[in-house]
Symmetry: C2
Subunit: 397 residues, 2 copies
């Protein structure tokens, strides 16, 4: 008999629990798999031998994973030391753990590679399940977690856009997550169903942010519309490469910055004398179950299943990745490919230049086309009678 | 024949369009009502005679009102002058408008009373439809708009709570709307399904905010939990009655303040050396269609219907209000009562003392009991295997 261990690393996504669910379902297909353990509280849970047998719970409880934000077994940002890796082989042997599935982002994939090397001799197979709302994991077309974060920002900006348009008295700056990669920020473009819809300006962390150009654009749009919606990445940097908002807290690897949205709103107020406000959904955007992408949920389950499948079939030191499959009608279809963890670790995936417009205040149609299918749901239709009024030559019709 | 005019005033809610829908449905019941006009862009729309016949649109387009955030006919914060009121009687006569329904908050109800007095002689009947996310309209049990804002904050804080608990490394300060009235902030308590759940601290604008007490509470909770969720009103004031965040912009009646959540997060970081972050859903919380309260939607439709019914039956200078009906099984049921606008205008409705706890960092069970039925939906159930692990004496089961 052999056991499986699932470990969660880093920040949650709306579908990390769906991948865990996928592992549980897949495990049922193998007669020689006895227990599926969750490492409680992330990688520290391995070292402390805090394991919970998840396969033992009712199907009903397991199904709740699909609708649960955060991570149901807990996660950590604990940085493992060399001695920790060395201790693991013994722990895995003690619990008959043959398959270790590590679900996380770039940091976790690094860990995944190290556990693989440390425990290969002991016959332990280690496979990574990608997870990041930021979509900054390389080589794979995208990672579970991102599509839901993308749907959240697109749907939310669409709604804020309708609100601002119906009482056009201010500039609203919506802050999107993704400090180094602008994928989420960019996804707000899918709120724009016709020209003139929000978002009116989009600022990515990949581009230097020029305050004067920003103010120029806001001033022009405010004059034209009265209500302007700007989406800005939390990680905007100036031409000097430094964050436009100075850091207020540092602790180990973590740096805490002030809010970009509040900073930009204040800038608009002070420099242009225009009323401005900030919306910063923050964690709400990675925890919303109502706006979870159904495509994301299915792919996250798939990633969990495929990770276990790969481990059982003997693979190790690889991560589940996605590629787009060519289809006759051009419709979206994903295929799974295993990627060596070393390949993944070569770089942080950021928004390529062809997805950025030339002025650096919007994204391209190519990006919208790439991102659209991931949302798994249409952005809602709304009725705007003000628009009808303006279009109509005989409004009293 | 007679026509109806609907006017929207002030900020949108998730259901102001539902009230408009109610008016349209109710108008179909009267043979002598010909047109239902929307004043495009709020009260200025009256003066500019920008009227659109809404009854003329397909049912399908009208149904879209129920799922449209913002206001589909536009709103304004324009302050009418005496001469404006005097001009209205002629305009109403010109368009055969006999029934004027004004949908808005306290400011709009003031306008409602003035239009009523200015146009009574012309035979025009003016009825108010309450609307506010802040729930600060007096006499009525609650106002359309608030229940959806309450559901949004409760569901969102529940999700953020699960996120923070699963990776307990920081204090999250969630900012809730409602500058003078804490009803929305308080509704976050409904996220707490069992003791220890988020929100861990709730701060209302009705209570002076003592920074030292706040820091004490946060420090204690962080030590105990590692992850703390605080919900704070955007309008928190210190013991001196001044906002804890100084104003950064003033324009006429409007004052724009910096973000309370960012301010408090920075305070926690600087004074306690604990990582903290802010979430400020802002406008997202009054525009979310996914978290619209079904009770709110039905009541908003009802308010629209009842307003027209009252006007047709000869009432004027009144607002539709809600009261709770006693039921045998204690279940929630609302009844409609007409309230003279003057009565409504006497005071701004804030959270009574019996809904605030003694330390001023939480709300009471009585408040939760009052607010709960308005959400119209259960706060979701989640699975937390970390909890199961801690409860279990034999975790490897």
């Amino acid at each position: 008999m052999a056991n499986v261990l699932v470990v969660h690393g880093g920040g949650p996504t709306p579908v990390i629990n769906a991948s865990l669910y996928g592992v549980l379902r897949q495990a049922e297909e193998y007669k020689d798999i006895d227990h599926v353990y969750g490492a409680i509280g992330g990688s520290q849970g391995i070292l402390k031998e805090r394991f919970l047998d998840l396969a033992g719970f009712s199907r009903e409880k397991q199904e709740l994973l699909l609708a649960t934000p955060g991570t149901a077994i807990g996660s950590s940002r604990y940085a493992l030391e060399q001695e920790d890796y060395e201790a693991m082989a013994d722990i895995f042997r003690k619990y008959d753990i043959r398959y270790v599935l590590m679900n996380g982002g770039n940091g976790t994939m690094d860990t995944c590679g190290k556990v693989h090397r440390a425990c290969a001799e002991a016959g332990v197979r280690v496979v990574g399940i990608p997870k990041t709302i930021d979509n900054d994991i390389a080589v794979t077309d995208h990672s579970p977690g991102f599509p839901s974060a993308a749907r959240y920002i697109a749907q939310t900006v669409a709604e804020v856009g309708v609100d601002v348009k119906s009482l056009p008295i201010h500039v609203s700056i919506v802050e999107a997550m993704g400090r180094n990669a602008g994928w989420i920020t960019a996804a707000s473009v899918l709120a724009r169903k016709k020209p003139g819809d929000a978002p009116h300006l989009i600022y990515l962390p990949e581009r230097p942010f020029y305050e004067e150009e920003f103010l120029e654009d806001v001033k022009r749009l405010y004059k034209e519309k009265g209500g302007v919606v700007v989406v800005a990445s939390e990680g905007l940097k100036g031409p000097d490469g430094e964050p436009i908002v100075p850091p207020i807290f540092r602790s180990g690897r973590s740096v805490y910055y002030g809010d970009v949205s509040a900073y930009l709103a204040e800038l608009v107020i002070k420099r242009l004398g225009i009323k401005a406000r900030s919306e910063k959904p923050g964690l709400c955007g990675r925890a919303s179950m109502a706006l979870q992408s159904p495509v994301d949920r299915e792919e996250a389950i798939l990633a969990g299943r495929e990770a276990l499948k790969a481990a059982v079939s003997g693979e190790s030191g690889v991560m589940v990745g996605f590629a787009r499959e060519e289809t006759a009608d051009g419709s979206y279809k994903v295929k799974v490919r295993m990627i060596p963890v070393e390949e993944v670790m070569l770089h942080e995936r950021v928004m390529p230049v062809e997805y950025q417009n030339s002025r650096g205040n919007d994204v391209t149609e190519a990006y919208a086309k790439w991102c659209g299918p991931l949302l798994g749901a249409e952005i809602s239709d709304y009725i705007d009678f003000q628009e009808v009024y303006h279009e109509s030559s005989a409004p009293l019709g």
